[in-house]
Symmetry: C2
């Protein structure tokens, strides 16, 4: 019973770790923009994701801390800052793929259900 | 370019759908408690997950709305309410497994890094 409880707690801890690192509204969206579109400047990211600079800055800092995103200061005038995914970020591919797949099927599931309800009513 | 942009937006939408349904601090933890431990009463869930009744009630309601959790009122005295995962919830297994796996490896990655830093300093 105790062993089971420990295994169970470990699984919850692992899940909460993942949610802490890539949960929230924006982090996975930012990572997939950088994964599909390559490196981006701060302003580009802010525009494409539709995130305010204040929130974006905080999110990117946390992603950088977890080694998922790299930040490069380009010595242009004015200075620009580029963000890109790191090679380590590729370890997240399985999570991202599974979430994409489930999101699509769940939307179909829910909209299918509402179509059925409409017909029945 | 436009087609690419649409495919990209669809992927972000799918990800945000998934995050909306199972994101946040508690939902996946609750689902995995119910997956591994079977059906639970409200109080049991509150104690095991360490969530206040107010938050738990809201989280369970949202999970029920998305057909991931079923709620059964048992006509005992006093009335008890039991929660269980639905068969549909099994579609989430891939997401949960991928997140568990990544959480574990990321913790090792980060603690490994801090051990290396300690040795170096």
């Amino acid at each position: 019973m105790n062993i089971e409880h420990t295994a169970c707690s470990k699984a919850h801890m692992a899940m909460q770790d993942t949610l802490m690192v890539v949960g929230g509204k924006w982090k996975l969206v930012l990572l997939s923009i950088l994964m599909t579109g390559g490196k981006k400047r701060f302003r580009e990211l802010s525009r494409e994701a539709g995130i305010s600079p204040r929130i974006l800055s905080k999110e990117l800092q946390e992603l950088e801390m977890n080694e998922l995103v790299s930040r490069t200061v380009c010595h242009t005038r004015p200075v620009t800052v580029e963000y890109a995914i790191t090679p380590y970020c590729e370890t997240l591919l399985e999570v991202i793929t599974a979430m994409n797949k489930w999101g699509r099927q769940h939307r179909e599931h829910i909209t299918g259900r509402s179509r059925v309800t409409e017909k029945a009513s």
